[in-house]
Protein backbone atom coordinates (compact mmCIF):
# COMPACT_ATOMS: atom_id res chain seq x y z
CA UNK A 1 0.00 0.00 0.00
CA UNK A 2 1.43 3.34 -0.99
CA UNK A 3 1.46 5.42 2.17
CA UNK A 4 2.70 8.69 0.69
CA UNK A 5 -0.76 10.33 0.27
CA UNK A 6 -1.62 9.24 3.84
CA UNK A 7 1.55 10.89 5.09
CA UNK A 8 0.94 14.14 3.23
CA UNK A 9 -2.68 14.48 4.31
CA UNK A 10 -1.89 13.59 7.92
CA UNK A 11 1.03 16.03 8.05
CA UNK A 12 -1.05 18.87 6.64
CA UNK A 13 -3.81 18.12 9.13
CA UNK A 14 -1.42 18.09 12.07
CA UNK A 15 0.09 21.43 11.03
CA UNK A 16 -3.33 22.99 10.67
CA UNK A 17 -4.41 21.49 13.99
CA UNK A 18 -1.44 23.09 15.68
CA UNK A 19 -2.20 26.43 14.07
CA UNK A 20 -5.78 26.35 15.17
CA UNK A 21 -5.33 24.78 18.55
CA UNK A 22 -6.63 27.85 20.40
CA UNK A 23 -9.83 28.05 18.42
CA UNK A 24 -13.00 26.15 19.25
CA UNK A 25 -11.80 22.95 17.62
CA UNK A 26 -14.18 20.05 17.93
CA UNK A 27 -14.77 16.53 16.75
CA UNK A 28 -17.77 14.80 15.22
CA UNK A 29 -18.53 11.13 14.84
CA UNK A 30 -20.66 9.47 12.21
CA UNK A 31 -21.78 5.85 11.99
CA UNK A 32 -24.08 4.25 9.47
CA UNK A 33 -25.24 0.79 8.57
CA UNK A 34 -27.51 -0.41 5.81
CA UNK A 35 -28.86 -3.65 4.42
CA UNK A 36 -29.70 -4.16 0.76
CA UNK A 37 -31.51 -6.95 -1.05
CA UNK A 38 -30.36 -6.91 -4.67
CA UNK A 39 -32.28 -8.90 -7.26
CA UNK A 40 -29.40 -8.57 -9.74
CA UNK A 41 -26.19 -7.88 -7.85
CA UNK A 42 -23.83 -7.78 -10.81
CA UNK A 43 -26.22 -6.06 -13.20
CA UNK A 44 -26.02 -8.60 -16.01
CA UNK A 45 -28.14 -11.34 -17.59
CA UNK A 46 -27.01 -13.95 -15.04
CA UNK A 47 -29.45 -12.45 -12.54
CA UNK A 48 -27.49 -13.35 -9.40
CA UNK A 49 -29.47 -12.18 -6.43
CA UNK A 50 -27.75 -11.46 -3.15
CA UNK A 51 -28.00 -9.42 0.01
CA UNK A 52 -25.31 -7.30 1.54
CA UNK A 53 -24.81 -5.30 4.70
CA UNK A 54 -22.57 -2.30 4.72
CA UNK A 55 -21.35 -0.30 7.71
CA UNK A 56 -19.18 2.77 7.84
CA UNK A 57 -17.81 5.09 10.48
CA UNK A 58 -15.91 8.32 10.39
CA UNK A 59 -14.20 10.54 12.92
CA UNK A 60 -13.97 14.14 11.79
CA UNK A 61 -11.80 16.88 13.27
CA UNK A 62 -12.30 20.62 12.82
CA UNK A 63 -9.02 22.23 13.84
CA UNK A 64 -10.05 25.40 11.97
CA UNK A 65 -13.48 26.61 11.03
CA UNK A 66 -12.36 26.32 7.42
CA UNK A 67 -10.86 22.84 7.62
CA UNK A 68 -12.32 19.37 7.98
CA UNK A 69 -10.13 16.33 8.44
CA UNK A 70 -11.69 12.86 8.50
CA UNK A 71 -10.58 9.37 9.29
CA UNK A 72 -13.01 6.86 7.89
CA UNK A 73 -13.56 3.18 7.37
CA UNK A 74 -16.23 0.89 5.97
CA UNK A 75 -16.99 -2.79 5.72
CA UNK A 76 -19.38 -4.62 3.41
CA UNK A 77 -20.48 -8.22 3.92
CA UNK A 78 -22.17 -10.24 1.16
CA UNK A 79 -24.46 -13.13 2.03
CA UNK A 80 -23.68 -15.32 -1.02
CA UNK A 81 -20.82 -13.60 -2.88
CA UNK A 82 -18.75 -13.76 0.28
CA UNK A 83 -15.49 -13.11 -1.58
CA UNK A 84 -16.78 -9.76 -2.79
CA UNK A 85 -16.82 -8.61 0.85
CA UNK A 86 -14.38 -5.80 1.45
CA UNK A 87 -13.27 -3.15 3.88
CA UNK A 88 -11.48 0.13 3.48
CA UNK A 89 -9.63 2.63 5.62
CA UNK A 90 -9.02 6.16 4.50
CA UNK A 91 -8.49 9.78 5.32
CA UNK A 92 -9.67 12.97 3.71
CA UNK A 93 -9.43 16.72 4.02
CA UNK A 94 -11.65 19.54 2.85
CA UNK A 95 -10.41 23.11 3.02
CA UNK A 96 -12.71 26.08 2.35
CA UNK A 97 -10.56 29.10 3.15
CA UNK A 98 -12.91 31.93 2.21
CA UNK A 99 -16.43 32.90 3.14
CA UNK A 100 -19.24 32.16 0.72
CA UNK A 101 -19.72 35.90 0.43
CA UNK A 102 -16.22 36.35 -0.88
CA UNK A 103 -15.89 37.44 -4.48
CA UNK A 104 -13.66 34.44 -5.17
CA UNK A 105 -14.66 31.45 -2.99
CA UNK A 106 -12.29 28.49 -2.95
CA UNK A 107 -12.78 24.79 -2.29
CA UNK A 108 -10.09 22.13 -1.95
CA UNK A 109 -10.50 18.49 -1.10
CA UNK A 110 -8.42 15.34 -1.08
CA UNK A 111 -9.11 11.74 -0.15
CA UNK A 112 -7.02 8.63 0.12
CA UNK A 113 -8.26 5.12 0.87
CA UNK A 114 -7.08 1.55 0.69
CA UNK A 115 -9.60 -1.21 -0.01
CA UNK A 116 -9.03 -4.91 0.59
CA UNK A 117 -11.24 -7.77 -0.60
CA UNK A 118 -11.71 -11.26 0.76
CA UNK A 119 -10.09 -14.39 -0.63
CA UNK A 120 -10.80 -15.01 -4.29
CA UNK A 121 -11.32 -11.35 -5.12
CA UNK A 122 -8.00 -10.01 -3.92
CA UNK A 123 -7.10 -8.92 -7.44
CA UNK A 124 -9.52 -6.06 -6.76
CA UNK A 125 -7.46 -4.76 -3.79
CA UNK A 126 -6.77 -1.13 -4.54
CA UNK A 127 -5.67 2.26 -3.31
CA UNK A 128 -7.50 5.38 -4.47
CA UNK A 129 -6.34 8.96 -4.27
CA UNK A 130 -8.43 11.95 -5.33
CA UNK A 131 -7.65 15.62 -5.09
CA UNK A 132 -9.49 18.63 -6.48
CA UNK A 133 -9.43 22.38 -6.31
CA UNK A 134 -12.13 24.80 -7.45
CA UNK A 135 -12.27 28.57 -7.55
CA UNK A 136 -15.47 30.51 -7.98
CA UNK A 137 -16.12 34.04 -9.10
CA UNK A 138 -19.33 35.78 -8.09
CA UNK A 139 -20.35 37.91 -11.02
CA UNK A 140 -23.39 39.07 -9.06
CA UNK A 141 -25.37 37.92 -6.07
CA UNK A 142 -27.19 35.37 -8.23
CA UNK A 143 -24.52 34.37 -10.75
CA UNK A 144 -21.37 32.42 -9.97
CA UNK A 145 -18.70 31.20 -12.38
CA UNK A 146 -16.36 28.40 -11.39
CA UNK A 147 -13.35 26.54 -12.68
CA UNK A 148 -11.30 23.73 -11.29
CA UNK A 149 -8.97 20.79 -11.60
CA UNK A 150 -9.40 17.24 -10.38
CA UNK A 151 -7.06 14.27 -10.27
CA UNK A 152 -8.26 10.72 -9.60
CA UNK A 153 -6.22 7.58 -9.37
CA UNK A 154 -6.97 3.95 -8.65
CA UNK A 155 -3.95 1.69 -8.25
CA UNK A 156 -4.58 -2.04 -8.03
CA UNK A 157 -2.24 -3.71 -5.61
CA UNK A 158 -1.79 -6.97 -7.52
CA UNK A 159 -2.48 -6.12 -11.17
CA UNK A 160 -0.87 -2.95 -12.42
CA UNK A 161 -2.38 -3.35 -15.90
CA UNK A 162 -5.78 -2.23 -14.56
CA UNK A 163 -4.57 0.95 -12.88
CA UNK A 164 -6.56 4.08 -13.65
CA UNK A 165 -5.38 7.65 -13.56
CA UNK A 166 -7.37 10.60 -14.83
CA UNK A 167 -7.07 14.36 -14.87
CA UNK A 168 -10.05 16.67 -15.40
CA UNK A 169 -10.32 20.37 -16.00
CA UNK A 170 -13.75 21.94 -15.82
CA UNK A 171 -15.55 25.23 -15.85
CA UNK A 172 -19.16 26.13 -15.17
CA UNK A 173 -21.71 28.73 -14.33
CA UNK A 174 -24.65 28.79 -11.91
CA UNK A 175 -27.28 31.48 -12.27
CA UNK A 176 -30.75 32.29 -11.03
CA UNK A 177 -33.21 34.02 -13.32
CA UNK A 178 -36.86 35.05 -13.59
CA UNK A 179 -37.57 34.54 -9.91
CA UNK A 180 -37.11 31.00 -8.69
CA UNK A 181 -35.39 29.38 -11.66
CA UNK A 182 -31.79 28.21 -11.59
CA UNK A 183 -29.53 26.91 -14.33
CA UNK A 184 -26.11 25.36 -13.96
CA UNK A 185 -23.92 24.58 -16.96
CA UNK A 186 -20.61 22.74 -16.82
CA UNK A 187 -18.08 21.80 -19.48
CA UNK A 188 -15.19 19.48 -18.73
CA UNK A 189 -12.22 17.91 -20.47
CA UNK A 190 -10.62 14.73 -19.13
CA UNK A 191 -7.69 12.64 -20.10
CA UNK A 192 -6.83 9.32 -18.57
CA UNK A 193 -4.06 6.80 -18.94
CA UNK A 194 -5.29 3.32 -19.77
CA UNK A 195 -4.21 0.02 -21.24
CA UNK A 196 -5.89 -1.40 -24.30
CA UNK A 197 -5.37 -3.90 -27.10
CA UNK A 198 -4.39 -2.59 -30.49
CA UNK A 199 -5.09 -5.35 -32.98
CA UNK A 200 -3.48 -5.67 -36.39
CA UNK A 201 -6.73 -7.08 -37.70
CA UNK A 202 -9.60 -5.68 -35.64
CA UNK A 203 -11.57 -8.92 -36.04
CA UNK A 204 -8.77 -11.17 -34.81
CA UNK A 205 -6.75 -9.70 -31.96
CA UNK A 206 -3.35 -11.25 -31.48
CA UNK A 207 -3.22 -14.08 -28.94
CA UNK A 208 -0.18 -15.91 -27.69
CA UNK A 209 -0.14 -19.73 -27.33
CA UNK A 210 -1.69 -19.37 -23.88
CA UNK A 211 -4.57 -17.37 -25.32
CA UNK A 212 -3.28 -14.14 -23.81
CA UNK A 213 -3.17 -10.89 -25.70
CA UNK A 214 0.31 -9.82 -26.61
CA UNK A 215 -0.37 -6.38 -28.01
CA UNK A 216 -1.22 -4.36 -24.94
CA UNK A 217 -0.68 -0.65 -25.46
CA UNK A 218 -0.62 2.25 -23.03
CA UNK A 219 -2.71 5.13 -24.29
CA UNK A 220 -4.62 8.23 -23.29
CA UNK A 221 -8.38 8.28 -23.31
CA UNK A 222 -9.59 11.82 -23.91
CA UNK A 223 -13.15 12.92 -23.35
CA UNK A 224 -15.22 16.07 -23.44
CA UNK A 225 -18.35 16.41 -21.32
CA UNK A 226 -21.17 18.93 -21.30
CA UNK A 227 -23.79 19.02 -18.57
CA UNK A 228 -26.57 21.61 -18.23
CA UNK A 229 -28.97 21.44 -15.28
CA UNK A 230 -32.22 23.26 -14.64
CA UNK A 231 -33.90 23.41 -11.24
CA UNK A 232 -36.74 25.24 -9.56
CA UNK A 233 -39.25 24.83 -6.71
CA UNK A 234 -42.64 23.24 -7.32
CA UNK A 235 -44.80 24.79 -4.64
CA UNK A 236 -43.32 25.78 -1.30
CA UNK A 237 -41.88 22.43 -0.16
CA UNK A 238 -40.81 20.60 -3.32
CA UNK A 239 -37.84 20.99 -5.64
CA UNK A 240 -37.48 19.83 -9.24
CA UNK A 241 -34.24 19.23 -11.09
CA UNK A 242 -33.56 18.15 -14.69
CA UNK A 243 -30.01 17.17 -15.59
CA UNK A 244 -28.58 16.41 -19.03
CA UNK A 245 -25.14 14.90 -19.56
CA UNK A 246 -23.24 14.39 -22.80
CA UNK A 247 -19.79 12.82 -23.04
CA UNK A 248 -17.69 11.98 -26.09
CA UNK A 249 -14.36 10.18 -26.40
CA UNK A 250 -11.62 11.17 -28.83
CA UNK A 251 -9.03 9.03 -30.65
CA UNK A 252 -10.28 5.72 -29.30
CA UNK A 253 -11.51 3.91 -32.40
CA UNK A 254 -8.94 1.12 -32.36
CA UNK A 255 -8.97 0.50 -28.65
CA UNK A 256 -10.20 -2.86 -27.38
CA UNK A 257 -10.48 -3.77 -23.71
CA UNK A 258 -10.95 -7.16 -22.08
CA UNK A 259 -14.45 -8.29 -21.18
CA UNK A 260 -15.72 -10.42 -18.35
CA UNK A 261 -14.82 -13.79 -19.93
CA UNK A 262 -11.12 -13.05 -19.44
CA UNK A 263 -9.41 -13.29 -16.11
CA UNK A 264 -8.52 -9.64 -15.89
CA UNK A 265 -11.73 -7.77 -16.63
CA UNK A 266 -10.72 -4.29 -17.65
CA UNK A 267 -12.12 -1.50 -15.48
CA UNK A 268 -12.37 0.45 -18.73
CA UNK A 269 -15.07 -1.92 -20.00
CA UNK A 270 -17.67 0.09 -18.04
CA UNK A 271 -16.57 3.53 -19.24
CA UNK A 272 -19.05 5.00 -21.70
CA UNK A 273 -19.77 7.90 -23.95
CA UNK A 274 -23.22 9.10 -24.88
CA UNK A 275 -26.13 10.97 -23.39
CA UNK A 276 -28.05 10.86 -20.14
CA UNK A 277 -31.03 12.77 -18.86
CA UNK A 278 -32.58 12.53 -15.42
CA UNK A 279 -35.42 14.18 -13.56
CA UNK A 280 -35.32 14.37 -9.77
CA UNK A 281 -37.82 15.53 -7.18
CA UNK A 282 -37.18 16.30 -3.53
CA UNK A 283 -40.00 17.17 -1.17
CA UNK A 284 -40.63 18.05 2.47
CA UNK A 285 -44.41 17.68 2.10
CA UNK A 286 -44.52 14.88 4.68
CA UNK A 287 -43.66 16.51 8.03
CA UNK A 288 -40.21 15.52 9.37
CA UNK A 289 -39.43 13.37 6.30
CA UNK A 290 -37.27 13.96 3.24
CA UNK A 291 -38.71 12.17 0.23
CA UNK A 292 -36.75 12.12 -3.00
CA UNK A 293 -37.25 10.26 -6.23
CA UNK A 294 -36.13 10.30 -9.80
CA UNK A 295 -36.20 8.74 -13.21
CA UNK A 296 -33.31 8.66 -15.65
CA UNK A 297 -32.44 7.51 -19.17
CA UNK A 298 -28.96 6.70 -20.48
CA UNK A 299 -27.82 5.99 -24.03
CA UNK A 300 -24.30 4.54 -23.73
CA UNK A 301 -21.62 3.48 -26.17
CA UNK A 302 -18.72 1.57 -24.66
CA UNK A 303 -15.18 0.91 -25.75
CA UNK A 304 -14.97 -2.20 -27.92
CA UNK A 305 -14.84 -5.30 -25.75
CA UNK A 306 -13.04 -8.60 -26.44
CA UNK A 307 -14.72 -11.69 -25.05
CA UNK A 308 -14.61 -15.46 -25.58
CA UNK A 309 -17.64 -17.15 -27.14
CA UNK A 310 -18.92 -20.65 -26.33
CA UNK A 311 -16.27 -22.16 -28.63
CA UNK A 312 -13.55 -20.16 -26.82
CA UNK A 313 -12.96 -18.03 -29.90
CA UNK A 314 -12.24 -14.37 -29.37
CA UNK A 315 -14.92 -11.97 -30.44
CA UNK A 316 -14.77 -8.22 -30.45
CA UNK A 317 -18.15 -6.58 -29.98
CA UNK A 318 -19.44 -3.06 -30.11
CA UNK A 319 -21.54 -2.59 -27.01
CA UNK A 320 -24.43 -0.15 -27.06
CA UNK A 321 -26.82 0.09 -24.11
CA UNK A 322 -30.05 1.87 -23.35
CA UNK A 323 -30.82 2.11 -19.68
CA UNK A 324 -33.69 3.43 -17.60
CA UNK A 325 -33.64 3.83 -13.83
CA UNK A 326 -36.12 4.80 -11.19
CA UNK A 327 -35.55 5.42 -7.50
CA UNK A 328 -37.45 6.45 -4.41
CA UNK A 329 -35.76 7.41 -1.15
CA UNK A 330 -37.39 8.22 2.20
CA UNK A 331 -35.29 9.70 5.01
CA UNK A 332 -36.50 10.25 8.55
CA UNK A 333 -33.99 12.36 10.51
CA UNK A 334 -34.55 12.80 14.24
CA UNK A 335 -32.64 15.37 16.27
CA UNK A 336 -32.12 14.42 19.90
CA UNK A 337 -32.00 16.88 22.76
CA UNK A 338 -28.22 16.52 22.81
CA UNK A 339 -28.05 17.59 19.17
CA UNK A 340 -27.36 14.14 17.71
CA UNK A 341 -28.99 13.32 14.39
CA UNK A 342 -30.47 9.82 14.07
CA UNK A 343 -31.62 9.01 10.57
CA UNK A 344 -33.48 6.04 9.15
CA UNK A 345 -33.58 5.66 5.39
CA UNK A 346 -35.64 3.42 3.11
CA UNK A 347 -34.64 3.18 -0.52
CA UNK A 348 -35.91 1.47 -3.67
CA UNK A 349 -34.15 1.44 -7.01
CA UNK A 350 -35.16 -0.24 -10.30
CA UNK A 351 -32.96 -0.60 -13.36
CA UNK A 352 -33.78 -1.87 -16.84
CA UNK A 353 -30.99 -2.26 -19.37
CA UNK A 354 -31.11 -3.35 -23.00
CA UNK A 355 -27.82 -4.00 -24.72
CA UNK A 356 -26.37 -5.03 -28.06
CA UNK A 357 -24.45 -7.58 -25.98
CA UNK A 358 -26.90 -10.19 -24.60
CA UNK A 359 -24.96 -10.52 -21.34
CA UNK A 360 -26.08 -7.02 -20.44
CA UNK A 361 -29.77 -7.41 -21.16
CA UNK A 362 -31.11 -7.28 -17.64
CA UNK A 363 -33.41 -5.70 -15.15
CA UNK A 364 -33.29 -5.67 -11.39
CA UNK A 365 -34.12 -3.82 -8.26
CA UNK A 366 -32.52 -2.98 -4.92
CA UNK A 367 -34.45 -2.57 -1.70
CA UNK A 368 -32.47 -1.00 1.13
CA UNK A 369 -32.94 0.08 4.71
CA UNK A 370 -30.34 2.00 6.63
CA UNK A 371 -29.61 3.75 9.85
CA UNK A 372 -27.16 6.56 10.55
CA UNK A 373 -26.17 8.52 13.62
CA UNK A 374 -24.19 11.79 13.59
CA UNK A 375 -22.85 13.28 16.78
Amino acid sequence: MNLRPYTLITLAALISFALGSHSFADVSFDFGSSHTDASNLLNDANDFDDAYTSSDASLTFYPLSSLEWSLKGDYTYYKDFIGLGNYSLGTGMTFIPLSADSRTPLHFSSNFSGRLYREGFQDFDNNTFDISGTIGYNLSTATQMRGGLAYNSTAYVRTESSDQESFTIFTGCNASFLGSNAIDIEVGYSFASYTYIEPIDPEFPILDPNFRFVKFTDGTLKSLSFSPRYSRPLGSKTGLSVLFTYREFFDHDEAIVLGSTFENLSPWSSVWQGRAVSLNLKTYLVPHFIVSGGVGYWNKSFLRIADLDVAFLTQVVERQDEQTKFFLNIQDPIVTGAGYVLETTLGFEYTNNTSSKPLYDYSGFNLSIGFRVRM
Binding site: L64, F95, E343
Partner: protein, 142 residues
Protein backbone atom coordinates in the same frame (compact mmCIF):
# COMPACT_ATOMS: atom_id res chain seq x y z
CA UNK B 1 3.07 26.21 3.37
CA UNK B 2 -0.17 25.69 1.52
CA UNK B 3 -2.17 27.02 4.43
CA UNK B 4 0.06 30.05 4.79
CA UNK B 5 -0.26 30.76 1.09
CA UNK B 6 -4.01 30.69 1.32
CA UNK B 7 -3.93 32.86 4.41
CA UNK B 8 -2.03 35.50 2.50
CA UNK B 9 -4.44 35.17 -0.39
CA UNK B 10 -7.35 35.48 2.00
CA UNK B 11 -6.10 38.60 3.68
CA UNK B 12 -5.40 40.12 0.29
CA UNK B 13 -9.01 39.54 -0.69
CA UNK B 14 -10.58 40.78 2.53
CA UNK B 15 -13.30 43.29 1.83
CA UNK B 16 -13.85 41.89 -1.61
CA UNK B 17 -17.23 40.56 -0.59
CA UNK B 18 -20.32 40.53 -2.66
CA UNK B 19 -23.61 41.45 -1.05
CA UNK B 20 -25.55 38.62 0.52
CA UNK B 21 -28.26 37.41 -1.82
CA UNK B 22 -31.83 37.25 -0.57
CA UNK B 23 -32.98 36.00 -3.97
CA UNK B 24 -33.50 32.37 -4.97
CA UNK B 25 -30.22 30.41 -5.11
CA UNK B 26 -29.84 26.74 -5.98
CA UNK B 27 -26.19 25.81 -6.17
CA UNK B 28 -26.66 22.09 -5.43
CA UNK B 29 -29.45 21.57 -7.94
CA UNK B 30 -32.16 20.11 -5.73
CA UNK B 31 -34.69 22.82 -6.61
CA UNK B 32 -34.81 24.04 -2.99
CA UNK B 33 -33.66 27.56 -2.10
CA UNK B 34 -30.15 27.38 -0.61
CA UNK B 35 -30.94 30.33 1.65
CA UNK B 36 -33.25 28.11 3.69
CA UNK B 37 -31.84 27.87 7.21
CA UNK B 38 -31.12 24.44 8.74
CA UNK B 39 -29.73 25.11 12.19
CA UNK B 40 -29.98 21.56 13.51
CA UNK B 41 -28.29 20.15 10.38
CA UNK B 42 -30.89 17.40 9.93
CA UNK B 43 -31.29 18.08 6.22
CA UNK B 44 -34.74 19.64 6.61
CA UNK B 45 -34.85 23.45 6.35
CA UNK B 46 -36.21 24.94 9.55
CA UNK B 47 -39.13 26.56 7.73
CA UNK B 48 -40.36 23.11 6.63
CA UNK B 49 -40.84 21.72 10.11
CA UNK B 50 -37.51 21.37 11.84
CA UNK B 51 -37.67 19.77 15.26
CA UNK B 52 -35.75 22.76 16.61
CA UNK B 53 -38.19 25.42 15.48
CA UNK B 54 -38.10 27.07 18.87
CA UNK B 55 -34.35 27.45 19.05
CA UNK B 56 -33.08 31.00 18.87
CA UNK B 57 -31.16 31.84 15.74
CA UNK B 58 -27.40 31.82 16.20
CA UNK B 59 -25.45 34.18 14.02
CA UNK B 60 -22.45 32.31 12.65
CA UNK B 61 -21.01 35.52 11.40
CA UNK B 62 -20.82 34.26 7.85
CA UNK B 63 -22.42 37.34 6.40
CA UNK B 64 -20.06 39.72 8.09
CA UNK B 65 -16.63 38.33 7.51
CA UNK B 66 -14.66 36.36 4.99
CA UNK B 67 -11.68 35.94 7.28
CA UNK B 68 -13.20 34.08 10.20
CA UNK B 69 -11.43 30.93 9.14
CA UNK B 70 -7.95 32.03 10.05
CA UNK B 71 -7.08 32.29 13.68
CA UNK B 72 -3.43 31.54 13.06
CA UNK B 73 -2.29 33.94 15.73
CA UNK B 74 -3.93 31.59 18.20
CA UNK B 75 -6.05 34.37 19.65
CA UNK B 76 -9.30 32.98 18.45
CA UNK B 77 -11.78 35.12 20.36
CA UNK B 78 -9.98 38.38 19.82
CA UNK B 79 -9.55 37.61 16.15
CA UNK B 80 -13.20 36.92 15.71
CA UNK B 81 -14.35 40.05 17.42
CA UNK B 82 -11.92 42.05 15.38
CA UNK B 83 -13.54 40.61 12.31
CA UNK B 84 -16.87 41.98 13.39
CA UNK B 85 -18.25 38.97 15.22
CA UNK B 86 -19.87 39.09 18.60
CA UNK B 87 -18.92 36.85 21.47
CA UNK B 88 -21.86 34.50 20.80
CA UNK B 89 -20.57 33.77 17.31
CA UNK B 90 -17.09 33.11 18.65
CA UNK B 91 -18.48 30.36 20.88
CA UNK B 92 -19.92 28.47 17.93
CA UNK B 93 -17.81 25.36 17.36
CA UNK B 94 -15.76 25.03 14.21
CA UNK B 95 -17.91 22.14 12.97
CA UNK B 96 -20.98 24.36 12.76
CA UNK B 97 -19.10 27.10 10.97
CA UNK B 98 -17.63 24.58 8.57
CA UNK B 99 -21.05 23.08 7.95
CA UNK B 100 -22.34 26.51 6.98
CA UNK B 101 -19.32 27.04 4.73
CA UNK B 102 -19.84 23.68 3.05
CA UNK B 103 -23.49 24.44 2.42
CA UNK B 104 -22.61 27.73 0.80
CA UNK B 105 -19.88 26.28 -1.42
CA UNK B 106 -21.83 23.38 -2.83
CA UNK B 107 -21.48 24.52 -6.41
CA UNK B 108 -17.71 24.30 -6.02
CA UNK B 109 -17.64 20.86 -4.43
CA UNK B 110 -19.87 18.97 -6.84
CA UNK B 111 -18.31 19.09 -10.27
CA UNK B 112 -19.96 16.83 -12.86
CA UNK B 113 -17.14 16.37 -15.34
CA UNK B 114 -14.89 13.38 -15.82
CA UNK B 115 -15.25 9.76 -16.83
CA UNK B 116 -17.97 9.01 -14.28
CA UNK B 117 -20.15 12.03 -14.96
CA UNK B 118 -23.82 11.20 -15.34
CA UNK B 119 -23.66 8.29 -12.90
CA UNK B 120 -24.61 10.06 -9.67
CA UNK B 121 -28.20 8.89 -9.63
CA UNK B 122 -30.17 6.84 -7.16
CA UNK B 123 -30.74 6.40 -3.47
CA UNK B 124 -27.07 6.52 -2.45
CA UNK B 125 -27.76 9.25 0.08
CA UNK B 126 -28.50 9.36 3.77
CA UNK B 127 -27.86 6.03 5.41
CA UNK B 128 -27.64 4.16 2.10
CA UNK B 129 -24.24 5.34 0.98
CA UNK B 130 -22.50 1.98 1.45
CA UNK B 131 -22.30 -1.07 -0.80
CA UNK B 132 -21.35 -1.20 -4.43
CA UNK B 133 -22.60 -0.21 -7.84
CA UNK B 134 -21.98 -2.77 -10.58
CA UNK B 135 -21.98 -1.72 -14.20
CA UNK B 136 -20.84 -3.72 -17.16
CA UNK B 137 -19.41 -6.37 -14.90
CA UNK B 138 -17.27 -3.90 -12.97
CA UNK B 139 -18.20 -3.20 -9.36
CA UNK B 140 -17.09 -0.14 -7.47
CA UNK B 141 -18.01 1.33 -4.08
CA UNK B 142 -21.08 3.51 -4.19
Amino acid sequence: MLLLAFTTFNVANAGDDTAKCSCFLDRDGDGIDDNARDLDDDGIPDQFGSQNDDEPEVDLGLANSDVFSFEISGEFDGGMEGAGLDSEASRVPNSQKFSALRMSSRALSQHRSGLTSGEDFGPGVGALSGGVVCEGGVCRPR
